[in-house]
Symmetry: C3
Subunit: 263 residues, 3 copies
């Protein structure tokens, strides 16, 4: 497994164009997160252009947080372009348990075999059909409780599944790892998970998905730890977090990453 | 009347899920405001799922700032769910005087008898049919000029009406109160009013609407005063404001609240 | 040519209502930028009300960053209102080279002869039909390479064209100027260009477009330089930038502006 610092350096050298069809809440922060860490974001969702734009991008993220049927169609078409081109795309099933619309859309997107699925424990459980505790968009389940569901899901999609939480769990169905970086304040700020999707996609561009996902989670968590050292609350945390992503070096990432490879 | 600090503590203990159908400008800040003060926000607007999602929520906010006909239908259906379930919803008639579309949509939503209507003086005057001075989304009228309109409106809806301004006015048609907390910089930052809707909704979840609205306005204003002590301008004010909401204690709120009950 | 400080003072005295049909990523920041510098923003895009709202505004901005066909129609109708009323509107052809949809929509909007077109070099080259290097929404071309295209485009529209970059280029087809203010961190933060459109529109309200555009670019760049003095990264830069816009005085602007009038 390459070091997370090496993945970060590779990503920055490539400055991948990451196409995001994400929710309205996340768009601005996600673009700033991607710019801060060294990627090039674009938010494009209209069905009239999403697939055409995807063909220009090195990676794609799809997030159903504020989708509607038109956006769902654009997501499907853009993801299909990435699949055909063998380029990575990340799927975030935000609040999938909450409504029938989200479940139907998520099922369709899963059929396209996302390179990476990332969600909280409740979302991964719901997506795997195991009945997660749905409550809005927050996780009511522990990461540990979703590990089997994540392995199942990864085996079904042939991709990587990442469960976000205090300690993240990442698996490709065979291998698995835990990333213990992060800061409790990240749970008190909106769209931290949504923005992370973009970072995962950026790392996956031209890099092996499992290692890249682990590296992206570690980088994100380490930046959160740095931000937490000076933040006074959720407002100043967000500011310090963008600054920390910008200044994060491969060396600092390798030193601070707490990655455990599990069976 | 319970103390505002008691309302805050009750809200935090419940961590209510607040469903927001709000404008695009407000979504991110509003979610962060709700997380900072201790509630759980979700932004869900597609007609395919808004009513279904509302059934999961403890409170709802509806804001017509960037609505269109589809969103208007989703607002109506979600608000109807809340009304039938006897759960609180807050209506913000942003810029209602500006266009016929806003007037028609607002009239329909008013028919559903919002638990709380919150707006600036011009919006409340326009909504009450008294001809406020429409100029974009800013208030051209004083809070005092809208007090009678607010009382009228509250009598018609059977709910609470809150007029935001340097000194807020809150009435349920019978009782009335003024809240004199806040900071002038709050008028130089966008979506401060929109985000406040969510805080009102969170306080109203399971609490009496008049007292809860007064408490929410006081909490918001006190956090603004704390932020104003260190802010250098509108950028640093926003950061300090989220930090202040996060750190606001019931005791500090009770000490700093400037609430006047009026006839 | 009047001083940029004089343009700033004139704009602030008028507090123009600026109607923005902009992309989702930019809405919040753009509103805050306009409030910070002293204008009054409104984001209104539904086709049911965009033209009606435009009739109330002193200036309009149109940005195709996240447009769809409905928004395109609203843009066209609102821009037509401004043209008929001889009030200024600013057009930003975000990522125009990337998709056919953007090209078609941009061609239609250009026919309405925008008061100001603002974009990066690649966008201006693409818009002028000269084949810019399209790569997402970032500029792959230098400002110098787009100067002839900008002059051509200005001659065709009869308006002003501004090319953003390390040194901005502004022309009305006859006159031209360069503005050398700004800070490198502005390229690492999203929607800095989009938000600038609003500032240009605000300055153009009731003022000659060429001088007003030059003044707006200088004001924006000077605020960026002030922010850069204290910022630790892209997070703290954004905070400091809003504070700097708020505190920018006409005198400080005149002292710091680096404007060069060229043939």
């Amino acid at each position: 497994m390459q070091t997370p610092g090496s993945s970060l350096a590779t990503m920055r050298a490539a400055t991948p164009l990451v196409h995001n069809i994400t929710n309205f809440v996340a768009m601005n922060v996600m673009a700033n997160v991607l710019l801060a860490i060294g990627a090039s974001p674009a938010m494009v969702h209209a069905r009239e252009e999403a697939a055409e734009f995807a063909a220009l991008a090195q990676a794609l993220t799809v997030n159903i947080g504020t989708a509607d049927p038109d956006w769902g169609a654009a997501m499907y078409e853009a993801a299909a372009v990435m699949g055909e081109a063998d380029r990575p795309w990340v799927f975030d099933p935000v609040g999938v348990a909450a409504t029938r619309f989200r479940q139907d859309l998520s099922a369709k997107l899963l059929d396209l075999k996302p390179t990476v699925v990332r969600g909280n424990a409740s979302e991964i459980l719901a997506l795997a059909g195991l009945g997660g505790a749905a409550r809005g968009v927050d996780a009511g389940d522990s990461v540990e409780a979703a590990e089997d569901a994540a392995r199942d899901l990864a085996s079904r999609t042939g991709g990587v599944v990442a469960v976000s939480g205090p300690v993240d769990f990442i698996t490709d169905g065979t291998r698995a790892a835990r990333v213990a970086n992060g800061h409790p304040m990240m749970a008190r700020i909106t769209v931290m998970g949504c923005s992370l999707n973009g970072v995962i996609a950026a790392f996956c561009a031209g890099q092996p998905a499992f290692d890249a996902t682990v590296a992206a989670l570690a980088a994100y968590g380490v930046a959160g730890e740095v931000a937490g050292e000076t933040a006074q609350g959720p407002g100043s945390f967000q500011v310090a977090f963008l600054d920390a992503l910008y200044h994060l070096t491969p060396e600092a990432l390798n030193t601070a990453a707490r990655i455990e490879v599990v069976a």
